[in-house]
Amino acid sequence: MDRRQFFATTATVGAAVLPIKKSRAANAKETKEFVGVLVDTTRCIGCRSCEVACSETNGNFVPDVRNDNALARVRDTSEKQYTVVNRFNTDKGEVFVKRQCMHCWQAACVAMCLVNAMFKTKEGPVTWNGDKCLGCRFCMVACPFDIPKAEYLSWNPRIMKCTMCYERLQEGRKPACVEACPTDTLMFGQKRELMETARHRVYSHPDKYVHQIYGEHEVGGTGWLYLSAVPFEQLGFRTDLGTTPYPEYTKQFLVAVPLILFGVPALLLGLSELTDRKKQVREDEGWSEPEVTE
């Protein structure tokens, strides 16, 4: 094949393939958007209805909201409760903040999991599958928000975390906490809508809110978004997590894997061939059969 012919063939094949690729890309375009929840902390009254609804829905420990005086100290989610509400004393008085899994857009726990037990569903929630999980707890290492919790005192421990009520979403219902909220603190929807609402609130009340939506950019964007009247550090949020999606941190390494997996054997095979002294001797002697000296 001469050069001209080669170009012609390449051009024809290329022209034939290009539209196919394009239409494939169009087909693959995701029509569903990730859902999430907007939490407006200025509206929360600390009634903890969400805690109760969550635990009842998921069969977890149901707190005695009236009598347990739990707001006295700052709590964390646990292997018994997927969500908790905390009270913070800030520059602008008491603020209540709900805490649960943030359902990151590119979740560290999902990228860490070697068996897809932690799974980012196409709807947005990050779920956990006990039939796959090894219980290695590296999801807990990876999660920047320390959300996955292990049942250490069980022979068959589960990893416990909010699933954004994935099963309810499948039935077309909202997460239990959102439905239980009496003050419209929680708003469920697609992230685009939530961002619009959040921005609208900040713009129309510029003095009421800090001009930041927590979760818009944090760790590459999260499913749950927060609005606040005071800087987020005062509400127990980590603001040093950066905006890089966490899976990016291991990408460099993963890219290097095939390079090593195929480059190193090639190099070593070549080296061992070059260092073979028996063959060297044979070459000196003009490729005659080597004498068996050993």
Partner: protein, 398 residues
């Protein structure tokens, strides 16, 4: 000829032979046995409670410290210390340096046992160990996961090392044909094994890349994988020196035929290798230090702790190795190898446990049960090692 009869008689011969070999030899009441037997027994009791009542029943792990010394020491450190196998097989089979041929078998055996026991200790730490086949059999592959890669490489590397060691087993069982066949596979196994080692030694470091906000900035950098790989080279070399020193004392009679001068040359060569790789490692640490502008971080206790590791247990033993090689001083090499090993232990524990969530008030400390189980793993490995070297032709040359 009656094939069945031959096979049967051969089989019964091998079975009889195995039975003979299983019996203990030598004295029972040695100091090592007196210490190790109770610890192994207590360890087994602890493991019973661990599997019945859960990991939290015997360990100090909690929601913020999901990994303790069972991972940080047994697995992450153990694998680094077992790096000698890939380094020595590289030197002997790829670079064809015959000088080190006599230590290949024992080093590969050590590597193999270390992987079986220390990577095997992983199953003690897994919450649902019966799902351990999930990443292997393919019902759910987490392709983008570093852990997926590491688990596969552990498995493959164990098989590779078993293949590398298999000629010795065949020789012991007097299966000459099998030995020849298996020996023919060695170069391939070695090259595959080195590749896997590079990947999972660094991969163990890559596991902690996503723990960025939790690891003290002196120990976190995007180069953890490279640091883990480079340090595994001198960790392996130091471990060979360390183990060789002990073996030389304990198994003196097995080494009878070996030339002392030859042994000295090997130790000096390993010391030289360790000195150079340690210097490269140190240099890289220094570059990262400057690049990430860590000056202001070294003024507090964490800074001193870091300096102890990087200066005291890397740079100092590095110079000790270099000095000792120059003056042909085996004693200093042995001390330096111990320091270098301590440095590795400290580094791996720092990344996985000590400097992990350094900002916490309630730090994790291992429970006594965790320590006993760790000792149990180490002692059991030594038991198996001793059983093998007193029976198979590990120390003797072909």
């Amino acid at each position: 000829m009656n094939t069945t009869a031959v096979v049967t008689s051969e089989f019964s011969r091998v079975a009889k032979f195995f039975w003979q070999e299983l019996k203990p030899r030598g004295k029972w009441l040695t100091p090592f046995n007196i210490i190790s037997i109770p610890i192994i027994l207590i360890g087994l009791v602890i493991l019973y409670f661990r599997f019945v009542y859960g990991i939290g029943y015997v360990t100090n792990l909690n929601q913020y410290y999901p990994l303790g010394i069972w991972i940080g020491f047994d697995v992450v450190t153990g694998v680094a210390l077992a790096g000698g196998a890939y380094v020595i097989t590289f030197v002997v089979y790829v670079m064809r340096m015959e000088k080190y041929h006599s230590i290949v078998r024992v080093t590969v055996l050590n590597g193999l046992l270390a992987y079986i026991f220390y990577a095997g200790a992983l199953t003690l730490d897994l919450g649902r160990p019966w799902h351990i086949v999930n990443p292997i059999i393919g019902n759910s592959f987490g392709y983008n996961s570093v852990l997926f890669l590491v688990s596969w490489h552990f498995l493959l590397y164990m098989l590779t090392m078993a293949l590398e060691f298999s000629p010795v087993v065949a020789e012991w069982a007097q299966l000459e044909k099998a030995r020849k066949f298996l020996a023919g596979l060695t170069l391939g196994a070695v090259i595959f094994g080195i590749t896997l080692s590079i990947l999972h030694q660094s991969g163990l470091g890559a596991l902690f890349l996503m723990a960025k906000p939790k690891i003290h900035p002196l120990w976190y950098s995007e180069f953890i994988p490279v640091l883990f790989f480079v340090s595994s080279i001198y960790a392996g070399l130091s471990m060979i020196v360390f183990e060789g020193t002990i073996s030389h004392k304990v198994f003196k009679d097995l080494l009878g035929g070996q030339n002392h001068r030859h042994y000295e040359e090997i130790i000096l060569g390993l010391g030289k290798g360790a000195a150079i790789t340690m210097f490269v490692y140190y240099f890289f640490q220094a570059l990262i230090f400057v690049h990430e502008k860590r000056w202001e971080l070294i003024t507090d206790a964490w800074g001193y702790w870091y300096l102890l590791e990087v200066i005291g247990l890397v740079l100092v033993p590095c110079f000790m190795f270099a000095y000792a090689v120059r003056h042909r001083n085996l004693g200093i090499i042995k001390v330096a190898s111990v320091l270098a090993l301590l440095g590795i232990v400290l580094n791996r524990l720092n990344v996985t446990v000590i400097a992990y969530r350094w900002y916490d008030v309630d730090k994790y400390y291992p429970s006594w049960q965790e320590v006993v189980v760790t000792l149990m793993v180490v002692f059991t490995e030594i038991w198996i090692f001793r059983w093998i070297v007193t029976r198979m032709p590990v120390f003797s040359k072909r």
